[in-house]
């Protein structure tokens, strides 16, 4: 199972993007500035947007899902229960997993953006997709919400997970880092070595690298371990 980006290009009036790379099973982080083309790249990787040139090759990926930044786009059910059933999931289990305090009969669009995001991500992460593309999964979430998403992502068994985000504080257990720099998708490599080449690294991670305590993982535990590590 792998996803190959073969000389992919996308053009926009204000930016352009060139992408090359192979995405193997694991959790991939694609970082980049706002407006650098992350969402466009996600759409092209999902095969929902035709690139200007190049191809996307999906090998042994029968099941794929792209989660948009705005959860409203995915809502088709009038109530929370209907929405869960539209994903073929048990409403009680999803509500419990999402950790939101709402009744099943609550109109789905009456939820706050944060609650809706949690509900949507709980539905998406409850299913086993071979390729899961998450566009800004941390937006609209508070810190406990972000930590909850990370825990759910870490539970995923197998498959390729690609997170497109400019998040700078809380991450799941990342296996591989990519970033969009100067209109090009750069491969920073596998963790833990990738952080050294990562230009969009959070300030705390950069500080740790400068002091010779490069984190082994980007999880809160990994960062804490690096910060507490004794230099010897």
């Amino acid at each position: 199972m792998r996803l190959v980006l073969d000389h992919l290009t996308a053009c926009h009036p204000f930016w352009s993007l060139v992408a090359n790379g192979v995405f193997s099973p694991g959790v991939h982080l694609v970082s980049g500035d706002v407006g650098s083309g992350k969402s466009t790249l996600a759409l092209m990787m999902a095969g929902l947007l035709t690139p200007e040139s190049g191809t996307v090759i999906r090998e042994s990926i029968p099941q794929m899902m792209l989660s948009f930044q705005f959860p409203e786009f995915h809502i088709t059910g009038l109530s929370v229960a209907e929405e869960c059933r539209s994903w073929n999931l048990d409403p009680d289990a999803v509500i419990r997993s999402a950790g939101i305090d709402v009744a099943k009969e609550t109109p789905s669009l009456s939820l706050s953006r944060g609650e809706l995001k949690r509900l949507h991500l709980a539905c998406v992460l409850a299913r086993d997709y071979d390729l899961l593309l998450l566009d800004e999964p941390f937006s609209s979430l508070d810190c406990p919400g972000k930590e909850w998403v990370c825990r759910q992502m870490n539970k995923r068994a197998g498959g390729i997970t690609v997170i497109f985000t400019h998040e700078q504080s809380i991450f799941p257990d990342i296996d591989h880092i990519w970033e969009i720099v100067g209109g090009e998708l750069a491969d920073c490599g596998d963790m833990p070595g990738a952080v050294v080449h990562w230009q969009h690294a959070p300030p705390l991670v950069k500080k740790l690298i400068c002091t010779g305590r490069s984190p082994l993982a980007l999880t809160p535990e990994g960062i804490r371990e690096a910060a507490c590590r004794t230099r010897g």
Binding site: A46, F70, E72, F73, T76, L78, S86
Partner: protein
């Protein structure tokens, strides 16, 4: 067309002309052929086609009910063409400039700003609609007539929320009403000609051609 004032004036005149009579609608169509980039001015052809289908259905129902469905269809198509042309030609700030020039810095500014925001939202809505359609497909649900209702619900909900948020932001920044802007317009000879012809189309719509030639009989 360079001048947004003449563009808006043409839109009003042509809409009235098309709505008034079939002759007016035909005149509007001729005007559309002469002064617009024609098919290139249609940005969202699928949306236009969907609206056309809706008009055909209504016209069919009207015909079955004994009304003049064909006349309705011709007139509505002409209005639709004018609308798509105005939408395609509009640039950011056009409505604000034209509104302020026409009605002043208080009511004009406010009306122009609202119109400008509405146009911006219309552009966003088409992109949102595309995303909703993709998301529905990703869920494995077929896209059809039944999908229009939930999609419309989300679009309306989002539009209302954005409007609410915009209003709050404006209030937070201390906006009450009105504002100052020094609009600058560039008028070409073609703009003037298009405006004159639009006025002629309106005259033609209300006074049939036979009325002009009766003196020569």
């Amino acid at each position: 067309m360079q001048d947004p004032r003449i563009r808006l004036l043409c839109a009003f005149l042509l809409s009235f002309a098309a709505f008034a009579s079939v002759t007016g609608a035909v005149a509007v169509f001729v005007w559309w052929l002469a002064f617009t980039p024609r098919w290139h001015s249609i940005r969202h052809r699928t949306a236009l086609l969907a609206t056309l289908v809706l008009f055909v259905i209504v016209a069919g129902v009207m015909t079955l009910a004994g009304s003049d469905g064909l006349s309705y269809l011709v007139r509505m198509i002409a209005i639709l063409l004018v609308g798509t042309w105005v939408y395609a030609e509009s640039c950011t700030g056009d409505f604000l400039s034209a509104g302020t020039w026409l009605f002043g810095t208080r009511i004009g500014f406010e009306a122009g700003m609202i119109a400008g925001m509405a146009m911006q939202m219309a552009t966003g809505l088409s992109e949102d609609f595309r995303r909703i359609r993709i998301a529905t497909g990703l869920k494995g649900q077929p896209w059809g007539i039944c999908s229009i209702v939930p999609a419309g619900r989300i679009l309306i909900h989002d539009a209302l929320r954005r409007a609410d948020e915009t209003a709050e932001v404006l209030a937070m920044r201390g906006y009450r009403n009105g504002g100052t802007i020094c609009p600058h317009f560039h008028t070409t000879l073609r703009d003037g000609l298009a405006g004159t012809c639009a006025a002629a189309a309106l005259v033609l719509a209300y006074f049939p051609v036979s009325e002009f030639f009766i003196l020569y009989r």
